[in-house]
């Protein structure tokens, strides 16, 4: 599903440049649930941004579902993001003047899905994350866990090939974190490919595979026995 070869990325900081990713080789199969771990500055967010086409790579290659991702203009990148990727952010990033349902329907709007179908699908995904009754509420009327579940529903709505989650539980208490992880695991059980960036070992343990990054290279890449979040809920 994801195929990365010899990926380099550096940022210009004034006169000197900062080499963040120093040759990453990495691939993800369909249906995997991968945790990317590392301390801050290890390059995990940069890697996720490149995977999410929010940032461009300097060297190397990146194939997503067989499509080479390079030299995209903004219009094309937006189109690919919409078709291939679902984002889940640490700070939820819901649009605060739109109701939960409208937020979920947003990626579908960009796919030019008809209004009625958008609403039906949005409701379906809200139901899947257990928030159907909250469809008409604004994000400010929801708790943190609920907001993240709306965000997950939104990420699912476009039926992307890969879900990318950047510290999805970073802003949540542990109980809510486990609820969210439980939801993510269930989505993964249905065959969705999910990548999670996290620095919390207990969250990482709930994935099927852990990739450790340090100073821009992969330190360790191992399959683990998944801890089911449902037992903590």
């Amino acid at each position: 599903m994801i195929e990365i070869k010899d990926l380099h990325k550096s940022y210009k900081m004034g006169s000197n440049s900062l080499h963040v990713l120093k040759g990453i080789n990495f691939s993800v199969e369909e249906g995997e649930l991968v945790a990317i771990m590392g301390s801050s500055g290890s390059g995990k967010s940069t890697l996720l941004n490149i995977l999410g086409m929010l940032d461009e790579l300097d060297e190397g290659s990146y194939d997503l579902d067989g499509v080479p991702i390079k030299n995209l203009n903004e219009t094309k990148a937006a189109n690919y993001r919409n078709k291939f990727l679902g984002f889940i952010f640490q700070s939820f990033n819901l649009i605060n003047y739109k109701s939960a349902m409208e937020n979920v329907a947003l990626p579908l709007y960009y796919q030019k899905v008809s209004r009625k179908e958008r609403q039906e699908k949005a409701l379906k995904y809200l139901e899947q994350v257990g928030l159907k009754e909250w469809a008409g509420h604004l994000p400010s009327e929801l708790s943190g866990g609920q907001k993240q579940r709306v965000a997950i529903a939104r990420a699912l709505a476009a039926e992307p090939k890969v879900l990318l989650a950047d510290e999805p539980t970073g802003a949540l208490d542990s109980k809510t974190s486990y609820e969210v992880m439980d939801l993510i695991q269930k989505i993964n059980d249905e065959g969705n490919t999910i990548l999670i960036v996290t620095h919390e070992p207990d969250i990482a343990d709930m994935c099927k595979r852990i990739v450790h990054l340090k100073d821009g290279i992969i330190l360790e890449d191992k399959k683990v026995n998944q801890v089911r979040a449902s037992q903590y809920v």
Partner: protein, 418 residues
């Protein structure tokens, strides 16, 4: 592009900070309001002044004589002279572009009344004219008829009097047509009355002149073949101003006036005057647009400013949208449409208020009666449409910089903004 969702979003964004939106809108509304009011005021002035030209053949010049200032061919300076009927023929021959030449003689206002009917009398100006004069003066026959070429050739003693004279000399129930009045000692039959085409100004002397056939006048008052005054109208398509020199040279030659005598031939070029007034209107319109658009410009800068702030506030939201896969063009379009929508709505309000003020002024004018040099201030549909066009363009301009700025921020940076 005009989908329901986009409109919903525009309304949501603009209504999220109502006070700010209203304050911004005020700038644009005020600008277009000023523009409309200025244009309407200019139009009112234009209408008022144009009324004075109403019904006059504007492509016309008037010719009269003044004492000479230079001696010429044995004739002394400071000589008084008259045009002759032969000059009229000469002009007709030399300058075929002239459509109408109306020679005229007139009786000066003497002391005391010069017109008597029974026990009533009055002091009026009396003209001996050719029938074509009615095309050159802003008058129309309200009753009876104007004199014709038969009256001219037969030297009939008939007159056409102004409606004001009729009011002075006749009781309302008296028959006017066919009655006789005495003009400077000679009896004339009244065959018609005239009214002026404009009711503007005039006052005491309006509709108080007497027209009679040129030949009858000359005979009755001993003018032989003298001509005191001429009105010359050029063919349509030829400006009388281009003929002025040829006309003056012709009469100078035939009247033995020194070619360099600038004073002897008195003339007034109505067309030039008309053009001068026309160009004044043009200048007025220009000033109105200039000032109006400058005022509008400050409103537009206001909108642009607010849009920039809105963009700044929504940087993160724009980042989210782009992460979710919104086309940058769609974002650009959204911002442009917000800007255009805001300018058009506020502009509309400005136009409506402008129209209300114009309506109020017109109502006031109706109540207090006509004001000199000002009539019916209005703006045409064309002006309103061009104001709308200006609004759309300004909305585009106002939104352009913010829209570009919005999509210049990379989504990754936009997402990091808190």
């Amino acid at each position: 592009m005009f989908s329901r969702d986009r409109w919903k979003e525009i309304l949501e964004v603009l209504s999220s900070n109502t006070l700010r939106t209203l304050a911004t809108a005020f700038g644009v509304g005020w600008g277009i309001f000023i523009l409309i009011i200025l244009l309407a005021a200019g139009k009112g002035l234009e209408n008022g002044i144009r009324l004075n030209f109403n019904g006059v053949a504007t492509n016309t010049m008037f010719l009269w004589t003044q004492p000479t200032t230079l001696a010429f061919e044995g004739l002394p300076e400071n000589r008084r002279f008259n045009y002759k009927l032969e000059d009229v023929d000469l002009l007709r021959q030399n300058i075929p572009e002239l459509r109408i030449i109306s020679p005229r003689n007139s009786l000066r206002n003497s002391v005391g009344d010069n017109v008597i009917r029974g026990t009533e009398s009055g002091n009026y100006r009396v003209f001996g004219d050719y029938p074509e004069i009615i095309e050159q003066r802003p008058i129309y026959v309200s009753k009876g008829r104007f004199f014709n070429h038969n009256d001219i050739s037969e030297r009939r003693k008939v007159v056409v009097i102004g409606d004001g004279i009729r009011k002075d000399l006749f009781r309302a129930d008296e028959a006017v047509l066919g009655s006789y009045i005495v003009v400077s000692g000679v009896n004339f039959m009244v065959i018609g009355t005239y009214k002026e085409k404009t009711s503007n100004g005039g006052g005491e002397n309006s509709e108080r002149e007497i027209y009679m056939p040129f030949t009858s006048f000359s005979q009755a008052y001993n003018r032989a073949d003298n001509v005191g005054w001429m009105a010359l109208t050029a063919e349509d398509g030829t400006s009388i101003s281009t003929l002025t020199e040829a006309i003056i040279n012709t009469v100078k030659q035939s009247r033995k006036i020194h070619p360099n005598d600038k004073r002897a031939i008195g003339y007034f070029d109505l067309f030039e005057e008309y053009n001068r007034v026309e160009s004044l209107f043009g200048a007025l319109r220009f000033v109105a647009y200039f000032v109006g658009i400058l005022v509008l410009l400050s409103g537009i800068i206001g909108v642009s400013n607010i849009m920039l702030i809105v963009i700044k506030e929504r940087t993160k939201e724009i980042g989210i949208r782009r992460a979710l896969g919104e086309d940058p063009w769609s974002i650009k379009l959204q911002i442009l449409m917000e800007s255009i929508f805001l300018t058009i709505i506020s502009g509309m309000v400005g136009i409506i208020f402008g129209a209300l003020v114009i309506f109020g002024v017109n109502t006031l004018l109706d109540v207090v009666g006509p004001v000199d040099m000002f009539l019916n201030p209005s703006v045409s549909l064309g002006v309103v449409l061009s104001a709308l066009a200006i609004l759309i363009i300004s909305g585009l301009l106002a939104g352009f910089i913010p829209a570009n700025k919005a999509i210049k921020v990379r989504p990754i940076e936009a997402l990091r903004t808190e």
